[in-house]
């Protein structure tokens, strides 16, 4: 098995999830509670990666972070490096690609928190930020956990975007799924079977955990 690729995928998935929790949770909060009329446009943009072919997404990301683009130029100026075919570029693409997998479950969980509990907290004199921390977040915890798990799993298995933006550089951008592709191309079916089995078992475990969380098999706080 290509342990280097597995380790790279784990690092990529963990970093993506961490970034998505800091970016996606506030975005989900805004989507759940905002009354702006153009909210649906933001929702549509967030959901785009669900329906867009990964090649299309990857292509645009590649254009957007290329050395001649404003983002690429700024990055080169700040770090001296380049985003395409780097771990950082891959990370950026993964964040965009997995955005709906964090935002949607979290937004659904926020929307499921009884609005009166939030208002009750405000009327008790508790600030909006503290109300989020003490009422909304604990009650939406299963949804936040689901969002994090799904983003992690989705990033672990991504292929098209990685190929477009990251290429296939061992130790830098060669993720598990790319490695399997390589193994098959090299007719090394033994290795491909092993790695595939690993991804299959991993994906199943993650989904089982997610559904168990939603069904409260392991309740985060006791049900009433």
């Amino acid at each position: 098995m290509d342990y280097q690729a597995i380790w790279l995928s784990v690092r990529l998935a963990a970093s993506t999830t961490a970034i998505l929790l800091t970016v996606g949770v506030p975005l989900a909060y805004w989507i759940s509670f905002s009354r702006r009329r153009w909210k649906f446009l933001v929702e549509a943009v967030v959901a785009l990666p669900l329906v867009l072919p990964p090649t299309v997404l990857g292509f645009y990301v590649l254009l957007a972070i290329g050395p001649h683009s404003p983002v690429g130029a700024l990055y080169a100026k700040l770090t001296g490096g380049m985003l395409p075919f780097s771990f950082q570029g891959l990370l950026l693409a993964s964040v965009l690609y997995s955005l709906p997998f964090t935002v949607q479950p979290v937004a659904t969980a926020f929307a499921g928190v009884d609005r009166r509990l939030v208002e009750a907290s405000w009327c008790l004199g508790v600030s909006r930020a503290a109300t989020f921390r003490r009422v909304i977040a604990p009650l939406a915890a299963p949804g936040i956990a689901t969002g994090a798990i799904l983003s992690f799993a989705h990033t672990m298995g991504e292929f098209g975007v990685v190929l477009m933006v990251g290429g296939n550089i061992a130790g830098v951008t060669r993720t598990v799924s790319i490695s399997i592709y390589d193994q098959v191309q090299a007719l090394d079916y033994g290795a491909a079977t092993e790695t595939s089995l690993f991804l299959l078992a991993f994906s199943f475990a993650v989904l089982a955990a997610t559904y168990a969380l939603q069904r409260r098999v392991w309740a985060i706080w006791p049900a009433n």
Binding site: L117, V126, V135, W221, N224
Partner: protein, 361 residues
């Protein structure tokens, strides 16, 4: 000094309902105010505007001289700054926190424990809200609201989520708890008995407007107009014409019948408001009595309502009497029995008919 609440709010809701509430509550004399009216009158909406949860389109709200809302100056304090405790109809207890932590949620250190004990909830301290009874939940919600030391307490139908037996028991406890806490309170209710039992001051709201405000007994005895009279449950609201006025007495012509009342200076089209319990029923014929306002008629129906009975009479005009079930049994009242109805002149309250004359007293 409990201070005063001044509210003049206008709002048009998405549903098309419009609210125009002018209200002044002197909390100095009346610590507990009841906001009374039928369902859909806009009571909860007004309460939410006072709390800062909904924003009126126009108007101003001041409490103890502090400006909570002023549309003309774009002032709208958030709920956190108003310190107006809000007791939701279904209590909105935090389901993930124990009773003790619910009460201590916004309390100063030590206060939570104090209120837990004062409300007799110490035994339930470690329980979750979902596992205690409705009456207990109500106490927890009240303790939580009071432990945050609000300047004003707003209660939205605090008893409606309870079963009938608990509601009766809790009603008096609730008033005691509010008076003990000494926090000026506004209670929304559509239940007449609750209004009488809980409130000192009362505002009657119908169709988004405050029609009358004043001491509870005053509103019940002297409704400002026909609409308020019907709303507060005066059994007999009869359109009348002033036929004569002499020696401080009015003679009212109500259909074929004539009734006398104390002259309160009303003129024009009026209604005669007579509470059911002020109509006495007698088997004696009319001629033998010298009492004023004695009308001959017959019984149309007798409806028993627990210890009381509602007797519908036809005396040329329809009259409803509320008497004890015992006296119905003693008089053996049956439909079609010939009886006479007696109403004291002081029990006939004359109110203007017009609904435009709705300025709050």
């Amino acid at each position: 000094m409990a201070g005063e609440l001044n509210c003049g709010c206008r709002a048009r809701l998405n549903s098309g309902f419009s609210l125009d509430a002018q209200l002044r509550i002197p909390f100095d004399q009346s610590p507990v105010t009841v906001l009374f009216g039928p369902s859909g009158a806009g009571k909860t909406t007004l309460l939410r505007m006072l709390a800062g949860l909904d924003r009126p389109d126009e108007g101003a709200i001041t409490f103890r001289g502090e400006r909570w809302f002023d549309a003309s100056r774009s002032i709208c304090l958030p709920p956190q700054k108003r310190r107006a405790g809000f007791l939701f109809q279904d209590y909105a207890l935090f389901p993930h926190l124990t009773v003790a932590r619910n009460i201590a949620f916004a309390a100063r250190p030590g206060k939570g424990r104090e209120y837990l004990k004062a409300f007799g909830l110490a035994e339930l301290a470690t329980r979750l809200p979902g596992s205690i009874s409705g009456g207990q939940q109500q106490r927890v919600a009240l303790a939580r609201a009071l432990a945050a030391e609000p300047a004003l307490l707003l209660l939205d139908e605090p008893l409606s989520a309870l079963d009938a037996a608990t509601r009766l028991r809790t009603r008096h406890q609730l008033r005691d708890m509010l008076l003990t806490a000494g926090v000026p309170s506004i209670i929304v209710t559509h239940d007449r008995m609750e209004a009488v039992a809980l409130g000192d001051w009362m505002a009657v709201m119908v169709g988004g407007c405050i029609l009358q405000a004043g001491p509870v007994q005053e509103v019940f005895r002297h409704p400002a107009n026909a609409q308020v009279a019907e709303c507060v449950g005066v059994e007999n609201v009869l359109p009348a014409r002033i036929a004569a006025r002499e020696n401080g007495l009015l003679t009212l012509e109500i259909g074929a019948a004539r009734l006398q009342s104390i002259d309160s200076g009303e003129a024009g089209p009026v209604v005669a408001c007579i509470r059911g319990e002020d109509v006495a029923i007698s088997r004696e014929p009319v001629a033998t009595s010298s009492a004023r306002n004695r009308l001959a008629g017959h019984v149309r129906s007798v409806i028993l309502e627990g210890p009381l009975a509602r007797v519908e009479l036809d005396c040329g005009i329809p009259l409803v009497a509320v008497v004890t079930a015992q006296s119905v049994a003693e008089m053996r009242l049956q439909p079609n029995d010939a009886v006479s109805a007696i109403v004291k002149t002081t029990s006939v309250h004359v109110a203007p008919w017009s609904e435009s004359d709705t300025a709050a007293k």
